[in-house]
């Protein structure tokens, strides 16, 4: 056995704290080590060349590199080693950066620790064996969860690239929040004018299968071969037959809150969300339908007016929950966001004042297809407001409500809404209470200036302390911190800049997908800079506001970026799987199948041996090498390749020497 050892300076990242020369010297005296050097940057081209050359010249058979985390460069080094013809699994990394130099100050002790980490690794690598990966076929279909602008963009890009797409949307229509917006910053173009064509394309594309009013029930499998069960909720209208004429909605006698307009104006128990909906079909909300309500109460009211008036017999009260199984190679999560519920702010009325509304409700008031047909009428009495006050950071940048982060989009939509208010009501006056104005993207600062100068929005720097009703209006008491004085405005309408929070149910979905999420529920990207649309689970990707607050340009950019990544993955016919998987020694297996219960990837199956006994067996292409089964097996018959007992004990022994 001829072990080669390479220690990296990583500039001063490692060498600043660890005496790399001393470590290399020490290691050179260890048994079986025939080559021990320190290099400035092992991962650089010259660094890799040194390693490759040394393997060839010194006929090295085991390699240890002491550098950063294997998460960073294990793959880099494996590839370099493979180029020499050596099996890439005869190699091991010692992490002396994240685990040593970055977290210690004392040079002597850090060097000692680095030596110990390296000794362990050398003891382990001596027991390595050549390992070989398997190949699995890749399913070329992609599943996209969430049909907001990010999901739609990803679906269109994938489909245009020739890939089959399954787009699953929870609501009866795709479109997401963007469908609810009036005009959009920073150009003030009509949201539905730019969104509708994309929605229609997505609805008509031959490669896109749209499943709306549906959610993900379960996910199993692994990159290249996921199996997904989709739960389609019963809309009590046959979506295939419905032509979206809307006569049912006009005739339905049951009033219901209008969900799409966020409770402003009335809706019906059977409804089509909005005129441009895709698919444009009607859906019954069971809890408001007279027929279903009477059924639940044990009485029988045969309202069913919708069914009677429908020309194409689409209404069907017998529709049941439906489960659809899909096999896909990759999954894109684009479940978007929700708005912070401002009712916790008692000082702003706690949701009790009808004329203190959310920003998204205001979008509906501004929208020509909204409940007031684009006339700004305040909810309490339908009066056109003369003075509109906007309050920023409601549920953002506020530790006291557990939301310390900036929502990123509200400064901009407040400026937009102030401009639109002036457009709709030229005589009106607008005030914007802000703490800081965050307008960092292209053309954003100019847009805010337009609100200030052209639309005359009065920006007041300070948070609002309270709002209370008086004489039919609302008194807004705040501060102008630039003057150091309290200020007061009599407002007719107050619009709150509700912060961005993670989408309802996205954490349950993340658990099904086995992807991590942060403390606020936003789904975690693989790396904050270098893997913005990947997750830590291979084959699962992110796009849009589900990863964190985002405006439309960034959501679209991410949708396209994700599609690019997924096309790269799915353009391969086969994927190599990691050989670091579990293996059952069937002669020792007692057939208790405890492993089968703990395996999170369903990678264990029951097989019958020649002698008729039933034992466990690991499907190597499915196993992700987590090691749960190894720890669980009572007869110690499972080993994890690359992490055998023998190897781990050698490491511990090296440490205890």
């Amino acid at each position: 056995m001829r072990i080669g050892f390479f220690i990296c300076h990583c500039g001063s990242n490692i060498a600043g704290t660890v005496d790399v020369v001393q470590v290399a010297e020490y290691v050179s005296k260890l048994p079986n080590v025939v080559h021990s050097v320190h290099l400035m940057y092992t991962c650089s081209q010259p660094g890799q060349k040194e390693i490759v050359d040394a393997i060839k010249e010194k006929r090295l058979t085991r390699i240890v590199i002491a550098a950063c985390s294997p998460k960073m460069h294990e793959v880099t080094f494996r590839r370099a080693i493979e180029r020499t013809g050596l099996n890439p699994y005869l190699f091991e990394m010692a992490n002396i950066r994240e685990h040593c130099s970055w977290i210690h100050d004392d040079r002597e002790l850090a060097t000692q620790k680095a030596i110990e980490l390296v000794e362990m690794t050398i003891a382990k690598v001596a027991r390595h064996e050549s390992l070989f990966s398997n190949k699995v076929d890749v399913n070329k279909k992609v599943l996209i969860i969430g049909g907001g602008i990010a999901g739609i963009q990803a679906a269109l890009d994938m489909a245009d690239g020739g890939f089959e797409v399954v787009l699953v949307e929870r609501e009866p229509t795709i479109g997401g929040k963007m469908a609810q917006l009036d005009n959009t910053f920073p150009t003030i173009d009509c949201s539905s004018c730019i969104l509708t064509p994309k929605m229609v394309d997505a609805g008509q594309h031959e490669k896109i299968k749209l499943i709306t009013y549906a959610e993900i029930e379960s996910v199993s499998g692994y990159v290249g071969n996921f199996e997904v069960k989709v739960h389609k909720k019963p809309p009590y209208v046959n979506y295939e037959k419905c032509i979206g004429c809307g006569i049912c909605e006009r005739k339905c006698p049951a009033k219901a809150p209008n969900r799409f307009n966020l409770g402003i104006g009335e809706g019906k128990a059977i409804y089509i969300p909005f005129p441009q909906a895709v698919p444009k079909v009607a859906t019954i909300t069971k809890e408001h339908c007279i027929y279903f309500k009477s059924l639940a109460e044990g009485k029988l009211n045969r309202c069913k007016i919708c069914q009677k008036v429908c020309h194409v017999s689409a209404v069907d009260f017998e529709i049941k929950d439906e489960y659809i199984n899909e096999k896909v190679g990759a999954i894109i999560t684009a479940v978007g966001f929700d708005l912070f519920n401002h009712s916790v702010y008692q000082e702003y009325g706690g949701g009790r004042y009808p004329d203190v509304i959310s920003s998204l409700q205001y979008e509906r008031l501004l929208s020509a297809s909204g409940p007031t047909e684009g006339k700004i009428k305040r909810p309490s009495d339908g009066k056109e407001p003369e003075t509109v006050v906007f309050i920023s950071c409601v549920g953002s940048r506020d530790d006291s409500v557990g939301r310390p982060y900036c929502s990123g989009i509200c400064c901009m939509y407040m400026a937009k809404q102030a401009i639109l208010t002036k457009d709709h009501l030229p005589e009106s006056k607008t005030f914007i209470f802000y703490i800081d104005i965050r307008a960092g993207s292209k053309a954003y600062e100019e847009f805010v200036k337009r609100a200030q100068v052209e639309a005359g929005a009065q920006y007041i720097r300070g948070r609002v302390a309270k709002i209370y009703p008086e004489n039919g209006g609302l008194i807004v008491r705040g501060v102008d911190t630039l003057l150091g004085q309290q200020v007061e405005v009599m407002a007719d309408l107050v619009v709150l800049a509700n912060g961005v929070i993670s989408s309802r149910g996205s954490n349950e979905l993340a658990q099904k997908l086995r992807i991590p999420y942060d403390q606020y529920g936003f789904l975690s990207e693989g790396h904050p800079k270098l893997k913005p649309v990947e997750t830590n689970t291979a084959g699962i990707f992110l796009a849009g506001a589900c990863q964190g607050p985002k405006d439309i340009p960034s959501s679209v950019a991410q949708g396209s970026a994700t599609a690019g990544k997924v096309q790269g993955l799915l353009s391969k016919d086969q994927l190599e799987t990691s050989p670091l998987v579990a293996l059952v020694e069937c002669s020792r297996c007692i057939g208790c199948f405890k492993c089968l219960k703990v395996c999170p990837y369903n990678a264990i199956e029951r097989i019958t041996l020649k002698d008729g006994s039933l034992v466990a067996s690991v499907i190597p292409t499915v196993c992700q090498g987590c090691g749960l089964c190894v720890a669980t097996c009572p007869s110690a018959s499972i080993t994890l390749k690359g992490f055998t007992d023998d190897q781990l004990i050698a490491e511990v022994e090296a440490l205890c020497r």
Partner: protein
């Protein structure tokens, strides 16, 4: 306020002192102004609560300790309840008053000190607050003899004023001990 604040003269020791007495981290303040917006006494203050917070951040000790604001503050805790960064501003104001008294600085509003002194001496001597002597003493020494006299009938009617001297509290010794342990309130 001074026209020119020399930012090199940040009094770091003062910042530490305020932070250790109040157990608050003043750099948490991001100057949203909600404390000022909610303060019922702001109209009496020469420097608003958020400005006081900022002056502490830049270590302007004299500016703050010479202000009326620290003596006008009612300790009503509204600012603390509203602060989005969860700073206990009321405790910060308390710390400022403590520092001022420790250093025996003049209290910018004379009658505030008078009021505090009478209240404290009443507690120290009787173990409780006696409203009638408090009012009489305060009016006498502040020279505002008939101050709030119009309130007397209604307070009397509600049984809020007692002319007959009530007994001292039993644990007067313990109360005295509290006073001797916190020397600052004695001055």
């Amino acid at each position: 306020m001074n026209k020119l604040i020399a930012l090199n003269n940040v009094n770091q020791k003062f910042i530490h002192q305020v932070e250790s007495i109040s157990k608050q981290k003043v750099s948490n303040c991001y100057q949203c102004g909600k404390c000022t917006a909610s303060c019922p006494a702001d109209f009496l203050m020469d420097i608003s609560p958020n400005q006081i917070m900022h002056l502490i951040q830049i270590g302007q000790k004299d500016e703050i300790l010479n202000s009326d604001s620290i003596w006008v503050c009612l300790s009503c805790i509204t600012c603390t309840a509203r602060c989005p960064r969860e700073i206990d501003i009321t405790s910060v104001f308390n710390a400022l008053r403590i520092i001022s008294r420790k250093e025996k600085r003049p209290v910018s509003i004379r009658n505030v000190k008078l009021f505090f002194d009478i209240v404290l001496s009443s507690i120290k001597n009787q173990g409780r607050l006696n409203e009638v002597p408090l009012l009489l003493k305060y009016n006498l020494w502040s020279g505002m003899l008939l101050n709030d006299a119009d309130l007397a009938p209604s307070l009397l009617g509600r049984g809020k004023l007692h002319f007959i001297r009530r007994h001292k509290v039993k644990e007067i010794k313990e109360i005295r001990q509290i006073f001797s342990r916190s020397r600052i309130s004695d001055s």
